[in-house]
Symmetry: C2
Subunit: 505 residues, 2 copies
């Protein structure tokens, strides 16, 4: 059985003490173990700050972009192996595992390209120069420089490759060294990626460290120049932000947490129309892809009252053909949940949502493994706007006039989708829901290759206000800002011109 | 004696219960009183959200900018009256009071102009449109929309006009209603400004409310669409950010707190040179303007060891001519501290700093009033990098090679100034200190009208990492972002083009 190790201080280090078992969620068979006990976290953080940071800052954006390209290439070469790990350790179907690995590679390549376009500079200009006085000599220019600390990344279990890559790509390109901690239960994919990077010497020493096992007191060790990006539950996000050192040192924290993503069907959309069929297809994909374990998955299906019965029976019909089973089997369409505790959480959530189950059940469907069927709920209680049930579970909610108001009850989310061809309805609903969301997906049957609302694109921001954690990641060059300090330079124009000779982001 | 009232729900409301006395800090005579007890804070917040927000959002940026212009004009008309209130309630010299009032007017006018330049749109585009797929039909566009909550502003005692205006201008221009709470001790100036706005009906109802007296449970009432901008002590900033509802709802909080601003003299600067004289002048101005009660004031004077003795005697000579006394007297150059507790804090701070007092003393200098002399300390203890002493107190620190490393010990600040004519030294020091600061001021004797490092300009960001609170205000249009939600629109290009028809910020 594989013992996952941590990569810190330029060495692979085995943890001590009790080890956490990693299992195949389809069979419950243990396949690896991990422990972070005994790993010197303070030394790892200092190694990043003292060795990794200077090495990255010595490189231009273009050079850092080239490092990302090399990581993407190495992952591409090991793609099949990574996909197999996603199937066995993540309970992913082959298609789900590809989604994760290809998402990671695509994000690395997108930021590699951003690096190329930023060029050989090491300092970024933010906006134009500003004349501050009557004379043009008195001048201002905002610049962006990498923070001198370490970027700690705490990732969720659901996207071991993509979650790792989307955070690491942006931090490394910005010039900050990374200490990446995956969720232990599904850490095998990220562990293998880090092995590839270390074996290939793809990054300068100290630029990337990896912690297998519990985070222990990692967060309590962060200071004013460090940053922390966290993806996971709202409860853990709250605990991180309440840490006294985080508050006292103004540690920059990005939280991407719970989200009750809504899909809104416009009143103009007739059943059987292309837009209607697209809507159904996207709801079913979001409910079942990764067994609904996506932070962006649709949880609330908000449809006009007059078509609610039709939507219900159509969704039930489409869900009925989703074969649930071992993702190692070719014809399986949906795998198990990731862990026993996720399964228990999902079952508890279904009970708490109330309403009437109109498709599936919370019950046991296979002898072994953390399986659950897709579940569609009609008429849930008001808790549907509060509790994220992280699995293949969605609730159907009928509206009579203003769906935007219902969407907003979720108190902030990552993404909301709108399917309509009525420009006035779209415009009104966008205005209603935009302040509550990081992204709005406008379904359109004629947009080729559109990946649906559940897919995070590196070019667009990912995050959301309120319940979703108030954070923001990605968004092309925007994502770099989290790892950079903006500083206004104020003084004589020729002096400032001498310091900055750099491209704008 | 004037009883300050709160302006909430479209009415002036007197507080109940025990009232806090506002005094003239030069004479200790009570001149007004305030209490917020009995003011319905929940109703005030709802009034902002339900009445003020929609009214502001119905206006274009240009129209909101015009409102700011009208406020600036009203303040300009009442300038003498406001200055008199600054003298009597703030202990400001006439010059200090002008600095505050004119800073407020200048900031309002700067954002009025930003409003004009953003034009008649109500929705801001963030960046260019992005082609997301192989086909240009699949399109992304980031937009910025005003948050649907209320902007709570908690201001410091030192700039009752400017502090009010710099926050209110940006929030109102962004389209968010404001509830402004000044520090009670010096609230008379802000109270009068709000009276001018109400009397002149310069803003839509609900767009601006005002709380005289304690904040009570104001912070505990904020939700996911509200924002809070706070200027004041680091301790209070920490308490605000630790509030469970603030953490749970991801309430956006901007904290501008303690800062051990440093002034660095380059090793190339010869005593008696123009650059040297400018450096001395700016240190003395920052120490004594507003009796050193500026968040941006220089606390650490970092000079080459070989000129430290010369700098010390030159500063002592310049400080000796600063006449401390009642700011109502024409020849007074420095007034008292704002309150008895500020005076006690400053005295305690001087003691804690250690080292040798080479100018002034912590002792009593006048029979009545909260007066203290300027104090220059040589060779302070390491606490000089931790404790902000909020008064006319600075410490002289000699360096032999890398002043940037000493500056960084402050753990994050608002502004650092560098006086040098050696491009290599400037470039190196900027690189060292930029990640720790929101602003770097490059002194240059030939830059006409340069206001020194202690002046906050609306065009440049104001804030800093770490100890300074990790926040950012102003910076021209950048400041609007705090009050806006960024949302990525993803979909068919023609649909997105229809929704957005707006100018870029």
């Amino acid at each position: 059985m594989l013992e996952l190790r941590s990569y810190v201080g330029g060495k692979w280090v085995a943890g001590q003490g009790a080890r956490q078992a990693l299992v195949n969620p389809a069979t419950e068979a243990p396949i690896a173990s991990a422990s972070s006990e005994g790993v010197d976290l303070g030394a790892a953080l200092e190694y990043a700050r003292k060795t990794g940071g200077p090495a990255l800052r010595a490189l231009s954006f273009a050079a850092r972009g080239a490092l990302l390209k090399a990581i993407a290439d190495a992952m591409q070469e090991a793609r099949d192996e990574l996909i197999e790990l996603g199937i066995s350790n993540g309970g992913n179907t082959r298609s789900d595992a590809k989604f994760d690995v290809d998402g990671a590679i695509g994000t690395l390549l997108a930021y590699a390209e951003t690096g190329t376009s930023l060029g050989t500079t090491k300092i970024l200009l933010d906006g134009e120069g500003i004349q501050l006085g009557r004379s043009p000599r008195f001048h201002g220019q905002h610049i962006l420089t990498p923070r001198r600390g370490v970027a700690v990344h705490i990732n969720a279990f659901n996207f071991p490759a993509w979650g790792f890559a989307e955070k690491a790509a942006v931090a490394l390109l910005a010039g900050m060294p990374v200490l990446s901690k995956p969720a232990t239960s599904s850490a095998m994919v990220a562990h293998r990626i880090v092995e590839l990077i270390v074996e290939g010497k793809l990054l300068p020493e100290g630029a990337l460290q990896f912690l297998a096992g519990a985070a222990r007191d990692l967060v309590e060790r962060l200071g004013a120049q460090d940053v922390l990006a966290f993806t996971g539950s709202g409860d853990t996000g709250e605990r991180i932000r309440a840490q006294p050192n985080v508050i006292r040192n103004s540690v920059r924290v990005n939280v991407e947490a719970d989200s009750l993503n809504a899909a809104v069907l416009g009143p103009d959309v007739a059943p059987r129309s292309d837009m209607y069929e697209l809507f159904l297809k996207e709801v079913v994909r979001d409910m079942t892809q990764k067994a609904g374990q996506k932070c962006t998955a649709i949880r609330r299906v908000i449809v006009p009252a007059q078509v609610a019965q039709e939507v219900k029976s159509d969704l039930a019909e489409l869900l009925a053909v989703i074969k649930v089973g071992d993702p190692a089997d070719e014809d399986t369409k949906m795998g198990p949940l990731a862990t026993a505790s996720q399964l228990a959480e999902a079952r508890g959530g279904i009970e708490q949502l109330g309403g009437k189950i109109v498709f599936g059940s919370a019950g046991k469907i296979l002898e072994k493994g953390f399986f659950i069927s897709p579940v569609l709920i009609e008429g849930p209680g008001p808790v549907v706007h509060e509790r994220e049930v992280f699995g293949p579970i969605a609730s159907l909610i009928a509206y009579s006039d203003n769906p935007g108001e219902i969407v907003a009850r979720g108190n902030g989310g990552l993404v909301c989708s709108i399917h309509s061809e009525d420009p006035a309805f779209i415009e009104h609903t966008v205005a209603e829901v935009a302040p509550w969301h990081g992204r709005i997906y406008l379904g359109h049957p004629k947009v080729e290759l559109s990946p649906g609302p559940g897919t995070v694109l590196p070019q667009l921001v990912h995050g959301g206000p309120g319940r979703a954690g108030g954070g923001e990641e990605l968004g092309g060059p925007r994502g770099l800002a989290f790892y950079l300090q903006r500083t206004a330079l104020e003084g004589a124009r020729p002096v400032i011109a001498k310091i900055t000779g750099a491209k704008q982001p």
